[in-house]
Amino acid sequence: MTTIYAYITHRGGVADDVAMEYIKAAAKIDAGASLTAVVTGSGADLDKVADSMTSLYQEVIKVNNEALAYPNAEVVRKALCNILDPSAIILAPHDTFGMDLCPGLSIKMDSAFAADAVDFEGIEGTSLKLVRQELGGAVSTHVTCDISNGAVITIRPGVFAGAEGGSPGGKVVDKSGDAGDLTAKRRFLEIVEAEVGDVDITKSDVLVSIGRGIEEQDNIEIAQELAEAMGAVVSCSRPIVDAKWLEKSRQVGTSGQTVKPKVYMAMGISGSFQHMGGIKGNPYIVAVNKNPKAPIFQVADVGIVEDILEFMPALTEAIKEM
């Protein structure tokens, strides 16, 4: 029987949404698999998370250690290597923690690795078939993963949402005594909170959001004029902040702000999952992009294939004349 471990990330005593998403992912890998939650941490927060997981998982492995109070990937890896069966499938989120932990974990477990799975097509023999994306979401690929010696797989947060139930009535198994030596060559110091910017994009009902398609810093004015005409605020995708054209506080995405507007105007944005991950509340998404194959058109409500540098001024004029 396939054994699957689901590594539960959590903060402030509350499990991340991915805890629920693993259940659907695991069922797609192998509906008959044994699925166990693994929670590491320390103190009351850990107990709270572990107890809450018994309503979803039959078995919840808890690892309590002061050294695990902050999820330092190197420390977590050591604990997992000492506790988990390396021939199993280990699931983790493809987020900033999973990216830190999992490639190295697969080496130490001597198992296969697959990153950022968006779908699973099941196991045939010792081969697990899954779907992932390449080139910023422009193309998808089928990938086979030889799980005969175990596998570490990260799943894309959000795509396995909507599972029902899980299996309540589980028990917590305390494996803290098996964690072993948790000294690390990398030591967590502190979290530096994001700076607050001049404009709070999370409060705006309408966002005019710009990406690479804006081409030059001077062109941002064109987006500002459209935003002004619409009573909106200008936000952006990551490349605009990397280029230092707008402040970090204007960035929408998993590594930036989470926004909940009514209308989201994606102007020259390709639509990577990291960007879309920052858009919540199911807004009406308008996508304008000169590349008809831009991934944003798969998730937008309405799409227009045009150059934003010509389209935005025309739209601004039309709105002003209303």
């Binding site: 330092n72 990216m99 999992c102 190295g104 993963c145 690390a184 799409g303």
Partner: protein, 264 residues
């Protein structure tokens, strides 16, 4: 400080519209524009800035074919001192673990204090840096957006990008492996003249035997994770595409935005 930066030649996502070939199982690669993986330019820039501050050398390395030499030259034009091309037919079809094991063999031939990679490349897995670190038993940090190096110290401070725009600060022992996130710096511009300057610099090419590697441990046969095909997913309806003249499109669009509460 001796710094090794691992780079990769990739199809440029900003310059290409990706299409499948006629069989529908691979990209149509005939007219693809390739360039250096975007993240790698930030890694090389960071390495150059560190060496400018505390001295040392920057070496760039890639696993690839003859055409990958151009990305090494580009990074050398930025200011990297040396380039190394790891190339062998036996390397073809390697998965992330295979690439990491090839790089490991080269790392062990030198003496590096710091090894940098881009946080991810064209395949979007972000795997090679973390695997390489684990193979070398070196500490690792991913998605690094700040590095503080003090001359002569045995540790460095690194900031990692985490969710919500926050930054996680860590102290990490040297030698270590870091994967570099975009935005950590502003990579310098490289002009044609810069590339011409390094056009004649010799770049050693090393194969499996030069690295003391058993070819059976890398390449497609050894890969545990294999790409079967490429496809364009059927994601249902997708966006309603507005067509017509720009004026017609704008009229339709304004109507829709109004009905959704985006315009008074």
């Amino acid at each position: 400080m001796e710094i090794l930066v691992c780079v990769k030649r990739v199809p440029d996502t900003a310059e290409n519209e990706f299409e499948l070939n006629s069989e529908g199982n691979d990209l149509d690669r005939d007219d693809l524009v390739y360039s250096v993986n975007e993240w790698d330019n930030y890694a090389v820039e960071e390495a150059i800035q560190i060496v400018d501050n505390v001295g040392g050398n920057v070496t760039v390395v890639t696993v690839g074919d003859d055409e990958s030499e151009e990305v090494l030259r580009r990074e050398m034009a930025m200011g990297a001192n040396n380039g190394i091309l790891l190339s062998d037919d036996a390397f073809g079809g390697s998965d992330g673990r295979g690439i990491a094991s090839i790089l490991k063999a080269e790392v062990e031939k030198g003496k590096y204090d710091l090894i940098l990679t881009g946080a991810q490349a064209d395949e979007g897995a972000g795997q090679v840096g973390g695997m390489l670190a684990a193979m070398l038993d070196m500490p690792y940090a991913s998605l690094v957006n700040k590095i503080d190096v003090e001359d002569g110290a045995s540790t460095i401070k690194v900031g990692r990008e985490i969710e919500g725009g926050n930054q996680e600060m860590n102290e990490i022992d040297l030698p270590c492996v870091l994967s570099i996130q975009t935005g950590i710096n502003e990579p310098r511009y490289v002009g044609i003249r810069g590339i011409r300057k390094v056009a004649q610099v010799e770049i050693p090419v090393k194969g499996a035997s030069d690295l003391g590697m058993d070819p059976a441990t890398v390449g497609e046969a050894a890969a545990k994770t294999k790409r079967v095909d490429y496809f364009v997913p059927d994601l249902g309806e997708g966006a309603e595409m507005l067509e017509g003249s720009t004026d017609e499109i704008i009229t339709q669009l304004i109507e829709r935005i109004k009905s959704k509460g985006g315009l008074a």
